[in-house]
């Protein structure tokens, strides 16, 4: 009936004692005729008690696999796995089931006892010939490549260096600072950051260069940097913090875009050079209605104008976005300083006649009458657009972009501090255009994510990742294309596709896509699933 497998342990624990109300454990054991098993019941309440009972049970019966049957799925699996590891047994030859499932039946036909036995048999069959999983120690390079010298890249680099890792910061342009370099109020904040960056000897800065090519995997990427001079480095992780491009929305403005109608960044320059006319009208939410970056910049600039000049300022927006730290106060101070706010729904009309800008809109509040403003200058909120090189960079790192062309499709499981490819991280505006506080928090959180990954310098991997049988593989590239994590590469030498254990997240999609069934997940082999389906469906025991 079944080849001789060494003993399976059935460890039933019932701390609260309510399992006993429905099931008599002796009855279960008597029904388990077919299986070669030993069983015990523990009722100790604290985890330590469970562990001692279990270890003693394993030693006494010289078990090789065990089904842990409890009454809740909250049992701490680690206790049992560590005991198995300590006893030199395969920690994956353990199955955890919730006997409560046997009680939750609705039909009268099957008795609870048979159902409980059926659950235990199926679990035993799932683990009975689970081969041992080897472990592999992989050395991790403790250097990190940060792309982008804006505030996101700088803060990530500083936090990484603060945690003890070496950093190579590559900036595309000549100088550091990125988007916020032009903002007057942040000059000293940025200056301190850049000074700290240059002072930190763990950080090497390479400017006017870019990432040309990447190879290797998490913990050991081989990256090629091109610019003034070429260099090839080995790094443990790659952080992309290249920010975004803000473009004045010329198409929305139509033909009357001229010197009287400028973008917010150009106005920043005029603000710092005190070239501010008498009447200014700010207009946001023409584009990117779902971002608060524009409105925050608008409020800051409107307040700055009112503080130093006595020009009158009007702000037009669809929704006033104040959901950032201190947003409502900034809005209140702007109102108190005399800035007028109006909200619109349809796009306002803009006409420029002999360098006076006439803006007409229907006021959204009652009574909806048409209002016309005249201003010497119309400052328009800019569109946050992805940079030109995003597609190429995405292909290089084998990740994909979201519908607006920014990094990583919109999936909450890829937390802001992770990405679909292990070892690659996206921080700041290139992921989602956001303000400084949010960027700083995201940069520090991502740096911590990398510190947790690389600090120890090595990782002990249980090889539960997918395995490709190179004899069957015909290199049809289906798996290389479908792997969501870019964890499968073509090994030209051995003419087979190869899974990189550290990048593989053992989801098994490649195994089910492979046309010639060459790929298997060690813990979810085809035989195991078929074993569950074929004989135990009929519900017979053993």
């Amino acid at each position: 009936m079944k080849d001789k497998i060494s003993k399976i342990g059935i460890f039933i624990y019932d701390p609260e004692g309510n399992l006993g109300k429905f099931l008599s454990v002796e009855a279960i054991c008597s029904k388990l005729s077919g299986l070669h098993f030993a069983s015990t019941v523990s009722s100790s309440v604290r985890d330590e008690g469970l562990r001692d009972d279990f270890e003693e049970f394993v030693k006494k019966n010289k078990l090789s696999a065990a089904v842990i049957a409890g009454y809740s799925s909250r049992s701490n699996e680690k206790i049992f796995k560590n005991s198995f590891k300590k006893a030199g047994l395969n920690p994956y030859a353990l199955a955890f089931i919730n006997l409560g499932e046997a009680i939750v039946i609705c039909g009268k036909k099957v008795k609870i006892l048979d159902r409980a036995v059926q659950l235990i048999v199926r679990a035993a069959r799932w683990i009975e010939n689970q081969g041992p999983i080897e472990t592999q120690k992989i050395l991790l390079n403790r250097k990190v490549l940060v792309l982008g010298g804006g505030i996101a890249g700088i803060e990530t680099a500083l936090t990484l260096a603060g945690g003890g890792l070496d950093v190579v910061l590559v900036e595309g342009g000549q100088d550091l600072g990125g988007e916020i370099a032009a903002i007057e109020g942040l000059q000293d904040f940025l200056g301190d950051k850049i000074r700290a960056l240059k002072k930190e000897e763990k950080i090497k800065i390479i400017s006017s260069s870019r990432l040309a090519n990447t190879g290797g995997h998490a913990g050991g990427f081989i990256v090629k940097i091109e610019g003034k001079d070429e260099s090839v480095l080995e790094v443990g992780a790659i952080v992309v913090a290249v920010g975004y491009e803000s473009i004045v929305p010329i198409e929305e403005l139509g033909e009357n875009f001229n010197s009287r109608v400028i973008g917010q960044r150009d106005f920043e320059k005029r603000l710092s050079s005190n070239d501010v006319p008498g009447r200014i009208c700010f207009l946001t939410d023409l584009v990117d209605e779902d971002l608060k970056v524009q409105t925050q910049a608008l409020l800051r600039q409107a307040l700055a104008v009112k503080k130093e000049f006595d020009s009158d300022v009007i702000c037009l927006c669809k929704d006033l976005k104040v959901s950032f730290d201190g947003g409502e106060e900034l809005y209140k101070r702007a109102r108190e300083a005399g800035v007028l706010f109006f909200k619109y729904v349809e796009k306002p009309g803009i006409k420029v006649l002999n360098n006076v800008v006439e803006v007409s809109l229907i006021n959204e509040d009652y009574p909806h009458e048409e209002m016309v403003f005249e201003a010497d200058l119309l400052v328009v909120g800019e569109k946050a657009a992805p940079r030109k090189g995003f597609e190429e960079l995405a292909k290089l790192l084998s990740v994909n972009l979201d519908s607006n062309g920014f990094f990583q499709e919109d999936n909450v499981k890829i937390l802001p501090t992770k990405s679909s490819k292990r070892g690659v991280f996206f921080v700041g505006g290139c992921r989602l255009p956001q303000n400084i506080n949010e960027t700083l928090t995201e940069a520090r959180a991502t740096a911590q994510e990398i510190l947790s990954f690389l600090s120890k310098g090595e990782i002990e991997l249980d090889l539960t990742s997918a395995k490709i049988n190179s004899d069957r593989c015909v290199l049809c590239l289906t798996c290389v294309r479908t792997c969501p994590h870019g964890a499968i590469v073509v090994d030209q030498k051995e003419e087979t596709a190869k899974v990189i254990p550290i990048s593989c997240q053992s989801c098994g999609i490649c195994a089910s896509e492979c046309p010639v069934m060459a790929i298997e997940l060690p813990l979810y082999t085809n035989a195991k699933v078929m074993g569950q389906l074929v004989n135990s469906m009929a519900g017979e025991v053993g």
Binding site: R74, N76, E77, K78, T159, G162, G163, G164, F189, D288, E289, D290, L291, K292, D319, L320, K321, V322, S323, F324, D325, G326, G327, E328, E329, K332, K343, E364, D365, Y366, P367, H368, D402, S403, F406, D410, N411, V412, K413, L415, P416, T417, L432, I436, N437, E438, L440, T441, E442, R444, A445, A447, Q448, E449, L451, S452, S455
Partner: protein
């Protein structure tokens, strides 16, 4: 001797994120949780997916809350509170009072830690303070948190009075936020996103329901928010841009009426609703002052703990760090990131 132990006060998602990151870096972490189990408010949120996921991150919080049990380096002390502390950074002594399981007396515990992370989270605004909305007076006026909990536990929405499915539902935004009159002059960031996601869920579960959202300005949040708002409008959810001042109703009847101005004609219209959901904002914990004095950390004008300028995780008292909504309103995603960032700051301090 800089002890690598760290105490995290508060077992919500921010505290747990910080604890897990610190455990990864080799520290021994104590989580001091007042409640009988960890998870905080995020453990009670419902999944708000309709035909696709609407990015509310409730499931990410669920998975994180389960993950903390797999870390032997993290000792979770439930039912415990901080009484006092002494010493200086790298060498704090923390006195904790802990409810002992057996005789339910309080036992005194002292922890020697190198640093502390305050992650005590927020308290939902007590909607009763807005008397004119009649929360608790009229049974069918509920808060968004009540709605979340009933969706998570029962999977459906029901009128508290008779349990039937409500037809006309109203969402009131900015209840306890952006409201100078009750000293809440800040935006709680999360109410517009969760209101839109809840209304989209209700509208797609019960298409015949008629939902109106009374709002001032719709605040965006995270990726793909424009798409979420457009899909709400597409489903026929009405957006009315004024906040009603009062709810008219009778104590034990289903009748709830709201006055608002018709934006086109200008005259006052009377709307009747079966259910009114108050999108309550995030307020500081009511014992925030007590903990601030105990730990010697400053509070900002609204009662949240003040961060030192751009060091958003450092409190005014060196060696004590901040994580999550106790420092200011944050979404689930931001709280987790803020928790990890706090762990990075602690790591930097312990390394010196």
């Amino acid at each position: 001797m800089s002890s690598r132990n760290v105490a995290v006060i508060g077992g919500g998602i921010a505290g747990i994120s910080a604890a897990i990151a610190l455990a990864d870096m080799g520290s021994l972490v104590y989580i001091i949780e007042r409640d009988t189990q960890t998870g905080g408010h995020a453990a009670g949120f419902a999944c708000k997916a309709t035909e696709k996921c609407n990015k509310c991150s409730a499931c990410v919080a669920d998975e994180l809350i389960l993950k903390v049990f797999q870390y032997p380096e993290i000792r979770i002390l439930t039912g415990s509170e901080v009484m006092s502390f002494s010493g200086k950074p790298d060498n704090f002594r923390l006195q904790i009072s802990r409810a002992a399981k057996e005789e339910s007396l309080f036992e005194e515990v002292e922890l020697k830690v190198g640093a502390m992370v305050v992650a005590t989270g927020f308290m939902p605004f007590d909607a009763e303070a807005k008397k004119e909305y009649g929360y608790k007076k009229y049974k069918n006026v509920i808060t968004a948190l009540d709605l979340e909990r009933s969706l998570r536990l029962t999977g459906k929405i029901a009128k508290p009075t008779d349990g039937s499915t409500p037809k006309k539902i109203a969402f009131f935004q900015c209840v306890g936020s952006r409201d100078e009159s009750i000293g809440k002059g800040y935006c709680s960031k999360v109410c517009c996103p969760y209101a839109l996601r809840l209304s989209k869920l209700i509208k797609s579960e019960t298409p015949e329901s008629d939902i109106t959202i009374f709002y001032m300005d719709v605040q965006p949040a995270g990726k793909g928010f424009y798409e979420l708002r457009k899909s709400c409008e597409g489903l026929g959810i009405r957006f009315v841009r004024n906040l009603p001042s009062k709810v008219y109703g009778y104590v034990n009847s289903d009748f709830l009426q709201v006055k608002s101005i018709n934006a086109d004609t200008g005259e006052v219209i009377l709307d009747e609703f079966d259910l009114i959901v108050l999108s309550v904002g995030l307020s500081p914990q009511n014992d925030a002052k007590f903990l601030a004095d105990t730990l010697g950390i400053d509070q900002d004008g609204h009662g949240f703990y003040r961060a030192k300028g751009e060091l958003l995780n450092c409190s005014s008292n060196p060696g004590i760090f901040l994580a999550g909504a106790c420092q200011g309103p944050k979404s689930i995603e931001e709280s987790m990131a803020h928790g990890k960032a706090a762990a990075a700051e602690v790591g930097k301090m312990l390394r010196k």
